[in-house]
């Protein structure tokens, strides 16, 4: 048992941390956010140059060959910077689906372009009624000769407006909520029949509503792909947990600094016991979340879906709870300044709020964990 990073992992961490320190000061971030795309093209190039866009891909295709721990390192650092670029959508979600469901041929065609920063992906699965259920799919896929034709509407597709290609879930068979028959398709984002309405999300990132009307898919990655999709989403949740830890860490640092410098009644407010105890509770929440993010990282590659789900759900519960606590307290302990848009802490709070809503909020995962019998007392 060992929580240390290897030398290579340490190097990776240093280089990502340096990038974030150089490029992602809060004032710089505001500039990127004001771009029409909602992020900076130059940052995307910088990520490509550092090799980060190849993070999870095989080295033979120009990738970095990283595993779950490497993803954790990068995402935690991105959480510190509140990174706006479509890394999660393209590399973690899109890349994960390609890696697990794409043929060697397809990976050979797309991965080098992704690694070079020339191809961005998105994953379209949410529908009006589906909430967090990946298997609740009304979008249809029907065979037309050798091609698949898709019809339906997808909501809150992360970075759907920036994507060049979109991975879409669509039903090839069965009823709306059947676990079988959820197909996974690759669609050119500019194909006839695809319309996209992009918009900002609460955290300053972007998403899109995507409608598909008689869209001919480029590729079918599986006609009944739910188990693979769920595994990729579990890996994505682990990545979000790591990002959340980075964001919570910053909120705690900012709050602590504020308690030590802000003076009222002739003394620093951190000298008041009522605030000291609340700062301690924020630390506790962070440390609990950090442990669970590590647990999620390690368990995200577990092949047994039930074992994996238990761990991932437990981590998402902890992250949701800790994130809400730390976010709300960070704003409260800053007082009025914490409410202002020009101050960073509120933006971390908002990102944490969105992270809770991505891929199942704390309540959803608590219910799931309970249904799976909880964490302890199983044969394993």
């Amino acid at each position: 048992m060992d929580f240390d990073l290897s030398d290579d992992q340490r190097l990776l961490k240093d280089s990502v941390d340096r990038l974030i320190a150089d490029k992602y000061q809060f004032t710089q971030r505001k500039k990127y956010q004001a771009e029409p795309t909602g992020y900076a093209a130059e940052n995307w190039e910088a990520l490509a140059e550092l090799g980060l866009l190849g993070l999870p891909f095989e080295e033979t295709l120009g990738g970095f060959g990283g595993g779950a721990v490497e993803t954790m390192i990068v995402m935690e650092s991105f959480g510190r910077g509140l990174v706006l670029e479509p890394f999660f959508a393209t590399i973690i979600l899109g890349g994960g689906l390609l890696r697990r469901a794409g043929s060697a041929e397809l990976r050979g065609a797309l991965v080098p372009r992704i690694v070079a920063g020339k191809l961005k992906l998105a994953f379209a699965h949410v529908e009006r009624h589906s909430r967090y259920d990946l298997h609740d799919v009304m979008t249809t896929a029907r065979k037309d000769g050798s091609a698949w034709v898709l019809d339906g509407a997808k909501s809150v597709v992360l970075h759907g407006d920036a994507a060049d290609m979109i991975l879409v879930t669509a039903r090839t068979a069965g009823a709306q909520r059947d676990r079988d028959g959820v197909g996974l398709f690759l669609v050119d984002a500019r194909a006839p029949g695809v319309t996209r309405r992009g918009y900002p999300t609460q955290d300053g990132l972007r998403a899109a509503e995507v409608t598909l009307t008689g869209v001919r898919a480029d590729q079918c990655l599986g006609t009944s792909a739910l188990p693979i999709i769920e595994h990729v989403v579990d890996e994505a949740i682990a990545a979000l947990c790591a990002e959340a830890v980075g964001a919570m860490q910053v909120m705690n640092e900012m709050t602590l600094e504020y308690l030590k410098t802000r003076k009222q009644f002739g003394r620093t407010i951190g000298s008041f016991q009522v605030l000291q105890h609340r700062a301690v509770d924020m630390l506790t929440e962070l440390e609990q979340a950090r442990g669970m993010a590590m647990y999620a990282t390690v368990m995200s590659t577990e092949a047994d879906p039930v074992e994996r789900r238990r761990a991932i759900s437990a981590a998402k519960v902890q992250i949701g709870k800790s994130g809400r606590h730390i976010g709300q307290e960070a704003v409260q302990l800053h007082g009025g300044i914490g409410m202002t848009a020009e101050y960073a802490v509120g933006h971390y709070f908002k990102r944490m709020t969105v992270i809770d809503q991505l891929y199942g909020d704390a309540d959803t995962h608590l219910r799931q964990l309970a249904r799976l019998g909880g964490l302890f007392g199983h044969a394993a």
Binding site: M1, F3, L275, H277, A279, E287, M292, L369
Partner: protein, 398 residues
Amino acid sequence: MDLSFTDDERAFRQEMRQFFRTKIPDSIRAKVAEGEGLTKDDLVTSQRIMNDHGLATVNWPVAWGGKDWSPVQVYLYQDEMQQANAPTPIAFNVSMVGPVIAQFGSEEIKARFLPKTASAEIFWCQGFSEPGSGSDLASLRTRAERKGDKYVVNGQKIWTTLGHYGDWIFCLCRTDPTAKAQEGISFILIDMNNPGITVRPIYLIDGGREVNEVFFDNVEVPVENLVGQENKGWDYAKFLLGNERTGIARVGISKAKVARIKELAALEMSGGRPLIHDERFREKLAAVEVELKALEMTQLRVVADERKLEKGKQNPASSILKLKGSVIQQQLTELLMEVVGPYAMPYQRDFEGRNEAPVGPEYATEAAPMYFNYRKVSIYGGSNEIQRNIISKAILGL
């Protein structure tokens, strides 16, 4: 980063599991599982067995029967002991006075006390808190006045856990009333059979006798019973209190409680089906399990870090172990009480020794008393509010 245990560590865990589940009598382990109080004989029996196998004092120096184990081994030992519902070795002996004597005592006092402390031939109790000195321990007033080759001790200690089992008591006494509060205190060992000592029970809200008041009225103690140097007792007390780092989270005990809650909730019916199928109940339990898993991760991080830290330095994460561990233990006792429903109500402590059948299932009798009793865990050993003060100062620098 690798969270799996090595083959050697797995084999070690297996060895510990085997030991605790086969060598500690089932009757004693069943009492622990049900939360029934242990008799002095239970505690001494269990500790003797462990000591005979060299497993009672693993935290002591090797020369005095300790083990030169890795932090991971210590963790596995504790985890298996706790999950087996084996009693923890008598804390006053093994994690409190023993290490203090081994660290600060003369060779003579070590030889005199350590073997009997390990074998539980002496049952120790702790004389720290006083009626006026709880969280502010350094304000203690029990006086030990030097008269020739004796100290004459006068004063009162309180919250003396298992003082009624105690053969000896280690006391913080004021030896220099003129010095600053922390600088006039000595660490003195006192035979409870001395004339002038009175032990009076304090009954707790669960109805049990666990703690006591101990009165000292001109008790004469030979000066050889001073540990280390006179007036340095506060340093030794801090060493004692800081000694227990990771065991304090009691993760293994909580895991055993989760397993028990699941087992009993499968037997108890609610709405015509086993309670364990009730969504609301399951989610409440799952929420605690998440916290417990997170605490276990925190504990493992502390354990893994321990070998790299300089002696005396602490991983920041270690500070939350008591804070979080105590709350989780309390939440689990709440759930256990909920499991037995109306059978939590009958007060059955008075039935002890009367040979009457319990009201309701046997396992229900201790559920409510344990819930009431466990409110103590966020109070003793430095209340959670004091823990927050410490973390705020030592870790956050506020």
